[in-house]
Amino acid sequence: MLRRTFLGLLGAAGLGAALGKPAHAAGAQHFQGYPGSFGVLFDSTRCIGCRSCEAGCNKVNELPPPPEPFDDLSVLNTKRRTHAWTYTVVNRYDNIPGAAGPVYKKWQCNHCLEPACASSCFVRAFTKTPQGAVTWDGTVCVGCRYCMIACPFEIPTFEYSEPLTPRIMKCTLCYPQITSGKLKVPGCVGACPVEALVYGKRSDLIKIARERFHTFPGRYLNQIYGEHEMGGTNWLYISGVPFSALGMREDLGVTPAPELTSGALATVPIVAAAWPVLLTGIYAINKRKDKIARQEEAQAVARAVAQAQAEAGAKLKKAMTKAEAEQKAAIEREVKRALEEAVKGQSQEGE
C-alpha cells in the first residue's frame, strides 16, 4: 500500500512539474505590449477600395496570382475573407446609415499584443516578436488548426489542398522582408496610393489617430479599434461609421485570449496533485472499512461462540448439580430407608 501511494504521488509530482508552467502566464501584471513595437493604422475614411494593397501584398510575399486581376473591382461585390493564397482582402460595405457612400475595410492579421493563436498553439509555432509581428514557424506546426478555432478575428488560414505539407498562412506584417532590409514598410502600406495605411510605432499611431480626431471634428467616431480589443492589437482602425457596420466584432471584450484559458490550466496541477491523495485516501478508507467489518464479524462470531459455550456450560453445570443433588437425595433416601428398616427389624425382633 505504501509503495502504491508513493508511486501515485510520484506520478502526480511528475505531471505537476510537466504541466505547472502555463498557469497564469500573464501573471498579475497587465501586459501592455512590447514597447516600441510597430503596427499599422487603417483609416476607413481615406480608403477608396482600389485593392492596391492586395496587389502589393501579393507581390512582396510571392503569393500565387489571383483568378481575377487586382484592378478588377467587381470582386468587391461579395464579402471575401483571407485565404492561404491571400493574406489581405478589402471589402466594400454599402448603405451604411450616416455614410455618404460605400465604406471599405481592409482585412488581415491584427497582430494582437497577446495573440490567441500563440497562446493556443501546442508546439509554440507562433511568436509575438518584440517588433510587433506575430510570426509562424513551419518546422514544428502539426496542422491541428486550433489556432484557427482560437483566433477571434478568424485570420489564420490553412492549405487544405496540400496533402502532406500544409502550412498555416497569414499576414506576417512583412516581418521577414523588413528585418532583412528588403522593405522599409509592409507591402500593403507601401502600395496604398491614398495613405489610408500608416506604418509606425503603435504608440505613435495612437497619437496620430487622436490628432486626426482633433483636426477633423465630426469626421471620426472617438474610438480606436484595436487599442483595447482582445487586450489590444498592433493594427489599429479609425472610422466615421460604427465598426460593426464594417463587419467588425464589437463584442470581443478587452480580455487577452491567454487569460481566457489560464484559469482552467491553473486547476490542472491541482488535480494532478490532489486527486491521487484523495483517491488513495478513499481506497484506504474502503480497505480499512472492509478490514474492520471483517474483524467485527470475526469478533461477533467469537462472542457468539463464547456465549453459546458459556450458556451450554452453565446448563451442563446446572444439570450436573441437579443430578448430583438428586443422586445425593436418592442415597440419603436409601440410607434412611435402610436405617428405618433396620430399626423396624430390631424392634420386631425385640417384641
Partner: protein, 416 residues
Amino acid sequence: MNTQNPAAKNSLLTPFNVTVGIIFLLGALITFLRFTKGLAGVTNLSDNNPWGVWISFDLMCGVALAAGGYTTSAACYVFGLKRYHSAVRPAILTAFLGYALVVFALHYDVGRPWRLPYPIFVQSGTTSVLFEVGLCVFLYLITLFVEWTPAALEWLGFRKYRNIIVKGTLALTIFGVVLSTMHQSSLGALYLIAPSKLHPLWYSSYIPLFFFISSIAAGLSMVIFEGTLSHHFLHHKMDRTYQSEHNEVVLGFSKGAAMVLACYFLLKLVGVALDNKWHYLLTGYGAWFLVELLGFVALPCFLYAITVREKNLKLAKYASILTVLGIVLNRFNVSWFAFNWQLPAADRYFPSWMEIAISIYIVTIGVLFFRFISTKMPIFYEHPEYREHAPHEGEEEEGPEFTEHKLHKHPQTFGH
C-alpha cells in the same frame, strides 16, 4: 438472418462481412484521397470551419464515450465496489480501443500526422489547452494499454508478467482517473478561448466541469449500453460471474448515472443563471438547448431513477441509449452546431459523405478489434487459472471454453 439463402451461412458472404468489406473498401479509397489530394479533396472544412466531424465525433465523442474505462475501474478498485469487478475488463478494453482510435482518427485530421508527437517531444506549448489534452491522451493511452495487458498475457500464458502488472492495478487506476479528469474537462476547456464563436448558451466558464461531469454519465451509460449489446452478441463468451453480476452492475450504474445526470442538469442551469443568459432560451438556439437539456439530460436522469426504483433493467437500456445520444448531441453542439453560430448559413459547415465514411470506417475497426479480442481473450470471463472468485458450482462444465468450437464454426456471423 439468412432466410433467403441458407447456404450462405457457411460462406464468407454474410451480410456482416459484405457490409464490413464495403466500409473497408471505401475507407481505403478515402484514405488514399486524403493523403494525395489533401483535406480539401475529402472534407468540407474551410478557413472559417477548421474543425469538422472528425473532431466533433471521432475526438470529442470518442473520448467522452470511452469514459467507461476510468469510471468502472475507479468504482471497482478505488471506491471498493467489488461486485462490479466483472464489468471492468470490457470497459477497459472499450476505453483502450476508443482512445487508440481517437489517435488513429487524428492522423486523418491534422495536416502533418507524423508530427503528432512534436508537442511532447520536440517543442511544448504549455499555454495551450490542446497541449494538456495531447499529453493526457498520450499518457492515458499508455495507461489503458497496460491496464488491458493482463487479459492478453493470460491469453498468451505469461503468468509472471501478468502478475507484476496486476500488482499495479490501484496505481494504474488512480493515474487513469487523474488523467481522465484532466483531459475530459480540457476537451471542453478548448473552447474557453473562443467566447466570440461559441453560442452563449453553450459557452460557459464552467464548460470544463460540464465536460468532466457529463463524461462520467457517458461512461456509466456506455457500460450499460455495451453490456446489453455484448449480452446479445457475445453471450457464449460470458461466465457465470459476469452474468450473475451483470444485473447488479446495471442497477448500480443506473443509480450512479441518475445522480450524476441530476448534478449535471443543475450545473447546466447554474451555467445559464451565472451569466444571466435566460433570455437566450426564447430564441431558436434556446429551444435547441432545451431539447438537449430536457430531452437528453433530464429525461434519462428520470428514467434511470425509475430503473433503480422498480428494478426495471429494460428501462436502463433506453436510459443509457438516451444518455449516450445526449452526450453526442452536446459534443456536436459545442464543437459544431453552436460553434460559429454568428456566421451566415452559407459559411456554416456540413460534413462531406467522405468525412462521415471515414468516421464509420474507424468505428468499424473498433468493433472488429473488440470482437476479436473479446472472443479470444478473457474479457467477459475469468481465466480459469487466474480466478479471484471461487467458481460457482457447476461452472467448470459450463465455462465459455466449452462453447469455443461452436464459435469457430461461424466466426463471421455476428450473432443470432
